[in-house]
Symmetry: C2
Amino acid sequence: MAKKVSISDVAKSLGMSKTVVSLVINGKGDLHRINKDTQQRVLLKVTEMNYQPNVLARGFRTGKTNTIGLIVTEISNTFYSKVASYIEELAWQQNYSVVICSTNELVEKEKRQIKLLVDRKIDGIIISSSQKTSDSFDHLLEEGIPHVLIDRSFENSKSPSVSVDNFGGARMAARHLITQGITDIALVALKGEHVSTTRDRIAGFRSSLSDHNLSIPESRIIHAKPRYIHDTIKNSLQSYYYQNKMPRAIFAIDNNLTFICLEYLQKLSVKIPAETALIGFDDLQYFRYTDPSISAIEQPVEKIGEAAFNLLLEQIKDNSLMGKQNSVLLPVDINIRRSSKII
Amino acid sequence: MAKKVSISDVAKSLGMSKTVVSLVINGKGDLHRINKDTQQRVLLKVTEMNYQPNVLARGFRTGKTNTIGLIVTEISNTFYSKVASYIEELAWQQNYSVVICSTNELVEKEKRQIKLLVDRKIDGIIISSSQKTSDSFDHLLEEGIPHVLIDRSFENSKSPSVSVDNFGGARMAARHLITQGITDIALVALKGEHVSTTRDRIAGFRSSLSDHNLSIPESRIIHAKPRYIHDTIKNSLQSYYYQNKMPRAIFAIDNNLTFICLEYLQKLSVKIPAETALIGFDDLQYFRYTDPSISAIEQPVEKIGEAAFNLLLEQIKDNSLMGKQNSVLLPVDINIRRSSKII
DNA sequence: ATGAAAGCGCTAACAG
DNA sequence: CTGTTAGCGCTTTCAT
């Protein structure tokens, strides 16, 4: 373990003060009108001695760590891992590292993770929150900690968010089913109507139905708790099936739920779409090749990552922007495939 | 931005020295035989004043950050995002955060990421490396920086690794094809035979073939560069197709390549498995439901994450273990599905 | 059993 | 233009 050379070592061997060295290596040489010549000498010595600034000491001193936090509900969900991938890439280009946290939809875990990140003095947070209120984020706002909400957002929150048109997307899905004459539709969602995506997707779906004087009875809504998704969907579908009450179509509001619906419909040998059509929110590359291929609303994943990171970077660079940025709402597309095409 | 209360604030308001407070909050009270009573008072005051130790200052002082780094080639690949998810969960339970880096198979990026993590004084690194030699890791070993290689490993390296039986898994795949009478097989791999997984999977496959006096000619090996995977596979398959030389089966050595093969085979309307069978290394939940369902070698993803984190934690807790741990080799399974079942 | 004090490596007032 | 100096908040000898 080679002993580290510190800034004083460099200064000493150069016969200068730490200040000069510090200024030069931080690119503030010109700003402080330090001799071009001196600067050269410093830089030279630095490489010569292979001086590596102690990042921790610097962070401790400046409060900046060049690290951002990314909190998502489940990093192994393709949607989030893709978003994470884009964010990681952009961050890397700007010299930021990304700390990733997975909350498993647990509010307590999320809160502790936020606290941890703040304690660690990360420069900003991008988060897909499971919380019911925006309190945590109002707090961050007060404390001046840059952050951006993604995917899910809060009403009346000044924290900027990047989301997609969940309402509109769900309407597209509904319309697509309705125009094919389908009226008896079940809706599969994660429990928790406080989650904006869930709420908006359900609301959008309902709004389109109601445009056609249709509605979804409570019995047609499957609310799965995060930890019991499989069981809930399995049981609900089975009970429909054995009571001879399979819905004519199912709209599942995320990629995971959609896929699980496919699984259990297949296990029950329900013919898709002939007996029950299926459409989901959030498309996966795999949906194109399943049997039958699955219709889904496609989210602009790359743009979400991009917009979120840019908003965050803006705040980091200019703290006065906090609470003043506009939220971003991105459009979605519908990919109609065999699982929902009746005609 | 509420001003932070520091350890001196606590000490002052308690009329004690920082030392006592520090010792107590770090659980070293008993060790230093500090009055039970004093300890109580400190703890009380700490919560009362809502004292939050400055993690950065502590890290700066101790060189410990309670953070580990996870470097993978592509976090959006389900295999890695699952591994990441398990590691994140275990780390969380042990009070560690995880910094995730994606290398896109770029050796330079990987090296810079390692350096960055080391500079940041992360406590350890779990890495799936794209490098040709173990130099970087020999280095880490010398510097006493805990690390574990996952997925890919190096021969003659003292760095512990967690990998699966790639050789054996590939043999299973080959055997499965061969016993069905298939002899003309193409192999699809990422370019870079220095990558142990690629090497071992190819070697295993070949070894099984040669057991049956079979072999794979160069023309049947598709080596795709990371950035041109789609094009390479598309072109190769097209050229086979138009020359009327489709192989009787394809073995693709990772989940991504496998899926892409499926895509282009379908686009060329090649019947799977009737005309060309397909089997891949690394199973995905989706493979069960594609059309046709895809056969694949299944890796124990959870165990990989678990073993890697445990090995790392051991090193972190006991530095003297470095370079002395045994590597872990995990078994794989074969899931035979329709894509490769001819009989 | 507790305290004083040094110092980790760095940055940023402030002097000169 | 460059140097001196004072901490940032914490841990950790070393005294007492």
